[in-house]
């Protein structure tokens, strides 16, 4: 091998020398030179500077200081390196030819080449040509190739040995792991008997899975049949439906995933305990996992199937209820096959997600853990307790504080802040309290048994307490208030007082005159300006991930601006006799939200949740940070109300009425009038009432009107030139139904989830409580006292979390009608409905809890 390596080095050495001395090496001023040729040219020119000056058509004096020739000298000096390398290369090749020692010539040549290459990268004067690159390549090849040739056989030998070793190990593993044969029929009998006897551990799984699958089926089914109702405007399949879905689907998914995570965690641990004996008797892990996987798959399929069956019963019932409630004659269809397929896929995803969260259980199952139960005391959290308590309190206060301003709407994130605060208070505050309490034996010895769960299982008990608290807070702070507000909502017809509401332009006057004369409509024409806000929806990830250099955010909101006189006229047109003047000054506004009680509170302008909305009258214009104040001046809100002046077209999100003082409105009108030539925007608010005999003709004529003003919807397709009652009414009806159904279902889910979590917790604790009960019985504690002790322990989760949830939710219950601007009568109705629902929730909770407690006490005492 060494011989071949030497021959290789000899040949490359000659080639390198040849390239260095004979090949074109560099290119300068249109001429290619060999190295020696370049030196000759320099000498002929009379020196480097002369040469460089001539090449660049400058004087020698200029050349001395010019950047063009700055690197001439360094590059000239470094050119000696390849020359030396060439000589050495030649020498080395000759020595190799005569089989003489070459000492370290190869290394020196390599280093010379490396330094020269480095210098070429730093000092740039001429352009290297092919000879340069070839020589560099050959030097590298020589350095590596020779080594490879020498070591090639060694490398191959090692590779072969490694391969053989791996093959041998693989064969050895195969031999050791070989477990031939098949399991007998008795194996399956044993597995089936074991599975059947532990039905409790998978019953929870199946019940929970059934509930989730049924709920998903009903939800998707509802979406299908409600979607089949929509007519011209895609409310239900669009934002309104999404808005409703966004309110409760995350909760449903969160509760489902949380329950599944707990159940699967419990299921896996229980199964591993059940199979503990099998493990100690030597069942292979792979076989065990296969068995558990088959059980798991069976549970998933069974629960999916039962869920679909329950859904198939529930959905038609719900559909019938809806048709009856909405008094519909339209055909309502449901594609059951498609709904079942979608339900199954989503259900599998939910289970998959929950399984992934529990992945650590699958990966790190420990044999000894499956046999030996842990009886270690759970440590109290010890670090950062006071900061945790303070932060927790701050989060709760912040959550309530933001909610009460109404500027953050009723976003779920506010509730999440509260929950996070509760979590910190429970863990940090609870731990601090326990540590204080336990400091003096005289204090806790009297209640030694009662505080045992908190003393030894603080983290577990705290975890379940927080989970239950979360469930109750969602029920009392979010969904019961929302359901109450939905129940007391105005009748649909009151939300659309006019048959048609048009946003007309200046040149539409003749159109409406003609309409009036032909069809004798009741027509009111009010002056208005189109208003744009900076941001028409809550700031979200959408805005975060699409930032703009100028500071613009989207989408903007659009509303209707009127004067105070018009406001009074509009109210009187609706039969209000005594309208108090608003007394607005310039830059002050009164907002009239066009929404019903069920719509969530929201600011007019979501931009930075400021107290002062920014409004631009007329057409929307792009802006920057610098021009924002001029184009979108901020206004002070003097007062707000919720009152239908035109109609609930977009759920109050847009097309709300903003009232200015008469003088200020005139100013705005003049500004808008000036820009109308460039950007035509609506300037007349026209309300139309017609009799039923002419309704269709008026509707058809207004279609032409809509076509003419299609560009009014360029910013947002939901903003229309004409809003007609017939189109909106079924959608509003469907929306109300969907909301009530959805909120009711969610509240029931939350109630069931709370009871389920309680059941799960005490199912897992039964054995430990039973052992403790037996011990206390042996020490002579009477049964009555033991039962009282168990009830005391359970009360923390049964009623403690409920009371805490109610108290914390009181803020939200009280503030909801305030931020939604309910009238006095509405507040009263809302309060009554809320109290009724709360009472119902508490009653159901207490009833089921009574039976659960009895069940567990019986289990523990037996």
């Amino acid at each position: 091998m060494k011989k071949y390596a030497e021959r290789f080095s000899m040949v490359t050495g000659f080639l390198i020398a040849g390239l260095i001395f004979l090949s074109k090496w560099l290119y300068y001023d249109g001429i290619s030179y060999t190295i020696l040729g370049y030196f000759y040219a320099l000498k002929k020119a009379g020196g480097i500077m002369t040469f460089a000056a001539a090449a660049n058509n400058i004087t020698i004096e200029e050349a001395a200081t010019s950047a063009l020739t700055a690197n001439a000298y360094p590059t000239y000096a470094f050119l000696f390196l390849p020359l030396v390398a060439g000589v050495l290369s030649l020498l080395r090749s000759c020595l190799l030819l005569f089989h003489k020692k070459t000492w370290k010539l190869g290394v020196i040549i390599c280093w010379l080449g490396f330094i020269y290459l480095a210098s070429s990268l730093v000092f740039f004067f001429y352009m290297p040509t092919a000879g340069y690159w070839l020589a560099a390549f050959l030097v590298l090849l020589d350095a590596l190739g020779g080594r490879y040739i020498v070591e090639r056989s060694e490398i191959h030998k090692r590779a072969r040995e490694l391969k053989q070793k791996e093959a041998a190990e693989k064969a050895d593993k195969k031999r050791r792991m070989h477990f031939p044969g098949r399991y007998s029929r008795e194996f399956y009998d044993v597995i089936w008997a074991n599975f059947r006897s532990n039905f409790k551990s998978y019953t929870l799984f199946i019940i929970s899975g059934t509930m989730s699958a049924a709920l998903l089926f009903i939800l998707f089914g509802m979406q299908t049949f409600l979607g089949s109702l929509h007519k011209k405007v895609d409310f239900l399949m669009g934002d309104r439906f999404l808005a409703i879905m966004k309110e409760f689907i995350p909760i449903v998914i969160f509760v489902s995933v949380m329950l599944f995570v707990l159940i699967i965690s419990n299921y896996i641990k229980t199964r591993m305990e059940n199979y503990g004996t099998f493990i100690s008797l030597g069942i292979r892990k792979k076989t065990l996992w296969l068995i558990i996987a088959l059980e798991y798959a069976a549970c998933i399929l069974v629960s999916a199937a039962t869920g679909l069956i329950v859904g198939l019963i529930g959905l038609p019932a719900l559909k019938a209820l809806f048709i009856h409630t909405a008094d519909l004659s339209a055909v309502v269809t449901v594609d059951y096959g498609r709904v079942a397929l979608v339900t199954f896929i989503v259900y599998l995803l939910l289970v998959g997600l929950s399984t992934l969260i529990n992945y650590h259980l699958f990966e790190h199952v420990d044999i000894s853990a499956s046999i030996v139960k842990s009886v270690e005391k759970e440590p109290f959290p010890r670090h950062l307790l006071i900061p945790g308590i303070l932060l927790g309190a701050a989060l709760i206060i912040r959550s309530v504080g933001r909610f009460q301003t109404g500027r953050w709407g009723e976003q779920t994130s506010l509730i999440l802040w509260m929950l996070l605060g509760c979590l910190l208070l429970v863990y940090c505050g609870g731990s601090r309290l326990m540590q204080w309490y336990l400091k003096k034996p005289a204090r806790y010895l009297k209640k030694l048994l009662e505080i045992l769960p908190l003393r030894y299982r603080f983290r577990t008990n705290a975890k379940y307490f927080v989970l239950l608290l979360a469930v109750h807070i969602f029920a009392f702070a979010v969904f019961i208030p929302r359901l109450s507000a939905s129940i007391i909502t105005e009748p649909e017809k009151e939300l659309l007082p006019y048959d048609f509401v048009c946003l007309a332009h200046e040149d539409d006057e003749s159109f409406f005159r003609e309409l009036d004369s032909k069809y004798s409509v009741q027509l009111n024409d009010y002056d208005m300006v189109r208003l744009n806000t900076i941001l028409g929806e809550p700031y979200s990830w959408r805005q975060f991930f699409t930032p703009s250099m100028t500071g613009m955010v989207s989408p903007p909101g659009q509303h209707i601006g009127i004067s105070e006189s018009v406001y009074i006229r509009m109210k009187k047109a609706l039969g209000v006799k005594d309208v108090k003047p608003l007394g607005l000054a310039n830059q002050e506004i009164h907002i009239v939200y066009q929404q019903d009680t069920s719509q969530q509170a929201h600011p007019l302008d979501w931009y930075q949740n400021s107290e002062m909305p920014r409004l631009k009258a007329g057409a929307f214009t792009s802006y920057s940070y610098g021009s924002m104040d001029d184009l979108f001046p901020a206004y002070e809100i003097k007062s707000q109300e919720k009152y239908i002046l035109t109609g609930m077209f977009l759920g109050g999100d847009q097309e709300d009425i903003v009232v200015f003082s008469d003088e200020y409105f005139d100013t705005l009108r003049r500004e808008v009038g000036q820009e109308l030539a460039e950007a035509d925007t609506p300037t007349h608010l026209v309300t139309i009432q017609t009799d039923s005999s002419h309704y269709q003709q008026v509707e058809d004529r207004l279609k032409e009107f809509s076509s003419k003003h299609e560009t009014d919807s360029y910013l947002d397709p939901k903003i229309l030139p004409v809003y007609d009652k017939n189109t909106l009414l079924p959608d509003i009806t469907a929306e109300f139904f969907l909301k009530e159904a959805a909120f009711t279902v969610v509240i029931l889910i939350l109630l069931a989830a709370g009871l389920f979590i309680f059941y799960l917790k005490y199912s897992l604790d039964t054995e430990e409580l039973r052992d403790r009960n037996q011990f206390l019985e042996c020490t002579g504690m009477r049964e009555k006292d033991r039962i009282r002790l168990i009830r005391t322990e359970m009360s923390l989760h049964a009623s403690g979390s409920l009371i805490a949830g109610l108290l914390l939710s009181a803020f939200f219950f009280v503030l909801t009608p305030v931020i939604r601007h309910f009238s006095g009568a509405q507040i009263l109705s809302y309060s009554l409905v809320f109290l009724l629902q709360t009472a119902l929730y508490l009653l159901l909770h207490a009833l089921v809890m009574y039976f659960l407690e009895r069940h567990f006490i019986r289990e523990i005492l037996n």
Partner: protein, 249 residues
């Protein structure tokens, strides 16, 4: 005599290293040996037994089963050893209530993919040996403590393992039943030539062994050897020897 199981510098910790149950133990058991491991509660006896039974991995140290280091074995190999080479008798018998006595006894063979005929023959042989042949169709809930423990012994022997590990097998039994069980273990060792390692806190039960290892706070305090000879006198002397050492535990 060949070593059947050996541990070197065995340490076992729980939690985050707060609780050290076994501290650098060196122990070995030879073929056909009958060893008793004694100690107070919490001394590490059961933990040691679980490590010997390859159900628990040491935190430090090594476990050799027939000169094979357990760390070099895959989980499946450890399972194979537990199934074929080791029979475990728990304090509470650990029979599965959902299976008949017959199914419980056959379980190791079922897991070893043995055919029904072989299983049946072995089961009948073991049940005859321990006098529970008429109980095979019953469920564990219908048996007394002694009968359950004998069924557990049958299960432990069904695959003809070389090593029997018994964790306080007489702990839950009355003296008469306990006597039957310990005599059965003695028979297993003497006549069937199996290695038996027994954990107990009862010095009389320990006196049936040939070697008593005294464990205190996770370390081996002493190893006592049974005097040469047979008979009650020898056993009594051995018992007195063990009893004398108990205060040190």
């Amino acid at each position: 005599m060949n070593t059947i199981i050996e541990v070197k510098n065995l340490t076992r910790e729980y939690g985050t290293g707060n609780i050290q149950v076994l501290k650098g133990i060196d122990f070995c058991a030879f073929e056909e040996e009958f060893v008793a491991i004694m100690g107070r509660s919490g001394g590490g006896k059961s933990t040691l037994l679980r490590v010997l039974g390859l159900m628990d991995q040491p935190t430090e140290g090594e476990v050799f089963f027939r000169d094979e280091n357990s760390k070099d074995l895959w989980d499946s190999q450890l399972a194979d050893i537990r199934r074929r080479e080791i029979g475990f008798v728990h304090q509470d018998a650990r029979l599965l209530d959902c299976l008949t006595v017959e199914q419980n006894i056959k379980l190791p063979m079922i897991l070893d993919k043995k055919d029904s005929k072989t299983m049946q023959e072995s089961m009948e042989e073991q049940t005859r040996r321990f006098g529970i042949a008429d109980l095979v169709d019953k469920y564990p809930t219908e048996l007394s403590g002694g009968e359950k423990q004998r069924a557990a012994l049958c299960r432990a022997l069904i695959n003809n393992p070389e090593l029997i590990l018994a964790d306080e097998p007489t702990g839950n039994l009355d003296s008469q039943s306990g006597e039957l069980v310990i005599q059965a273990l003695e028979t297993i060792n003497r006549d069937m030539k199996k290695t038996v390692i027994l954990v107990t806190h009862d010095p009389w039960i320990a006196s049936y062994s040939k070697k008593a290892v005294l464990l205190k706070d996770g370390v081996i305090l002493d190893t006592l050897l049974r005097p040469d000879g047979e008979g009650e006198e020898v056993q009594k002397a051995y018992y007195e020897m063990i009893l004398g050492k108990l205060p040190e535990l």
